[in-house]
């Protein structure tokens, strides 16, 4: 499987995705939903504004060893764009000046594929910030030079967050590619062997569930129990928390929805499950997202739709904390993904 970009798909263009979200796929106004903006106006949340800026999420590039069917980044081995050390340096300067960013969340692609990944992590840790790495697990086994990642993570007290869409092989491989389940299990066992996810250590290993299909995640707490029981029994694996994340109707998941004829029903399902409490807790209110090229976004999804922050500080080189704190968060129809049911964020459900 290739990325949409490599296939020359029209969905590789973010404007095309926004057009579909606004008007439907077939013809102009073939399918329209109530605008998200209007929906949050009704509950007094518009304009949506930040409540804090605690999480500095950095996308280190679209390069990845996997090609997952639902990937909102359209990442893959054929995507070469990655963050330069110069841009990383600009991020470090921002972190140094703004201690309010207590957590740095590194994502991709596979962030470890960026040749400056370890240098960047070393420098962030020198600034004494909590670091999350969104590790796809299989990268640990993809090449000898990554085999020591569990030890590296441990020595830098990194929190590891990894996708595993099911505790069964079938569903995992359907979403993430053949053989991914087996390698993910091996990688989880390696992380466990150095202490990650083990009671009594402070090495945090969290897993992420994404639905492998056109449906919403089940209740996070109940699913966590099932994961713990199944992974413990079948593979002796333990972990800390499970995050359930709703798939956003953008990029490759949008492509899947359109190809499978599920797009309209899925959007209606998201709208039908709109939860005002989840809307109040959306992650864009306490997160700032940095693209591989240094541009700033309200979240990783806006980043993929090329919807930059709505203020003067659009790039790390123009960082302005006041302007960013007072900005209006850019919303669009994909935002229904974060407000459905128990809500969804990079840290899982946002309501009980």
């Amino acid at each position: 499987m290739k990325s949409l970009h490599a296939q020359g798909s029209k969905l590789a263009d973010s404007q095309q995705q926004l057009d579909i979200l606004a008007h439907g796929a077939a013809t102009m106004d073939a399918f329209t939903l109530i605008p998200f903006q209007q929906k949050i106006e009704q509950i007094g949340l518009y304009p949506l504004q930040p409540t804090a800026m605690n999480i500095f999420q950095v996308n280190l590039g679209k390069m990845c060893n996997q090609v997952c069917r639902h990937c909102h980044v359209d990442a893959g081995p054929d995507r070469k764009v990655i963050m330069t050390r110069e841009t990383m340096q600009q991020c470090l300067e921002i972190l140094q000046l703004h201690p309010n960013f207590t957590t740095v969340d590194l994502t991709g692609g596979a962030p470890e594929l960026n040749p400056d990944f370890r240098w960047f992590v070393d420098e962030i840790r020198k600034l004494n910030r909590h670091v999350i790495v969104r590790c796809n697990l299989t990268i640990i086994l993809a090449n000898k030079r990554f085999n020591d990642l569990p030890d590296y993570f441990k020595s830098h007290s990194i929190e590891v967050v990894s996708s595993l869409p099911s505790y069964t092989r079938d569903r995992t491989d359907r979403q993430r590619g053949d053989g991914v389940f087996e390698d993910s299990i091996k990688a989880l066992q390696l992380l466990n062997s150095v202490g990650y996810g083990i009671d009594g250590t402070d090495l945090v290993l969290n897993l992420v569930y994404n639905p492998a299909g056109a449906f919403l995640p089940p209740a996070q707490q109940a699913l966590e129990k099932e994961y713990k029981a199944a992974l413990g029994k079948d593979f002796g694996i333990s972990f800390n928390s499970l995050y359930t994340i709703t798939n956003m109707p953008i990029s490759r998941y949008l492509d899947y929805l359109l190809q499978s004829g599920n797009y309209e029903k899925y959007m209606e399902k998201l709208l039908g499950a709109f939860n005002p409490a989840a809307a109040a807790n959306v992650m864009c209110r306490n997160t700032l997202s940095v693209g591989w090229d240094g541009y700033l976004y309200d979240c990783d999804f806006n980043q993929m739709l090329d919807l930059k922050v709505d203020c003067t500080a659009k790039h790390v080189s123009m960082f302005d904390a006041t302007a960013l704190a007072n900005r209006h968060i850019v919303v669009n129809q994909h935002c229904f993904g974060c407000t459905a049911g128990a809500g969804s964020s990079c840290g899982g459900a946002v309501t009980q």
Binding site: T168, R171, P211, F215, P218, A222, L223, E226
Partner: protein, 112 residues
């Protein structure tokens, strides 16, 4: 719209509208329904699979639509879901067949 049929998939989404004609009873029903399907002595997940089987036994297309999605969302796989349908079918088949004993009793009663 073609109305010359009894079932319409979009009607499932209108289930809540039954309250338009009788609010207090609908409130009681939906409140009770929600509690029935919450985690209890059985998990919500287990209840979903029971509901899927019962949906087939009562042959309710709305219920089959709802609980095929719900059971799959809650992590059951295709084989497990089909086995649940077989359980429903086996009970329905068995229910018909066990009455064969009643037939035999009657025949024995009247036959020379």
């Amino acid at each position: 719209m073609d109305n010359n049929h009894y079932y319409n998939a979009s009607d499932l989404g209108k289930f809540g509208k039954i309250a338009d004609y009788q609010q207090p009873l609908a409130d009681k029903f939906f409140g009770w329904y929600g509690e029935v399907f919450a985690d209890g002595a059985l998990t919500a997940r287990e209840k979903s699979l029971i509901a899927l089987a019962v949906a087939h036994a009562v042959q309710c297309p709305y219920c089959i639509d709802a609980y095929s999605s719900d059971a799959y969302e809650k992590g059951y796989n295709e084989a497990q879901m089909m086995e649940a349908v077989h359980v429903a079918a086996a009970i329905k088949g068995g229910a018909a067949l066990v009455h064969g004993v009643q037939m035999m009793n009657k025949v024995k009663e009247i036959a020379m």
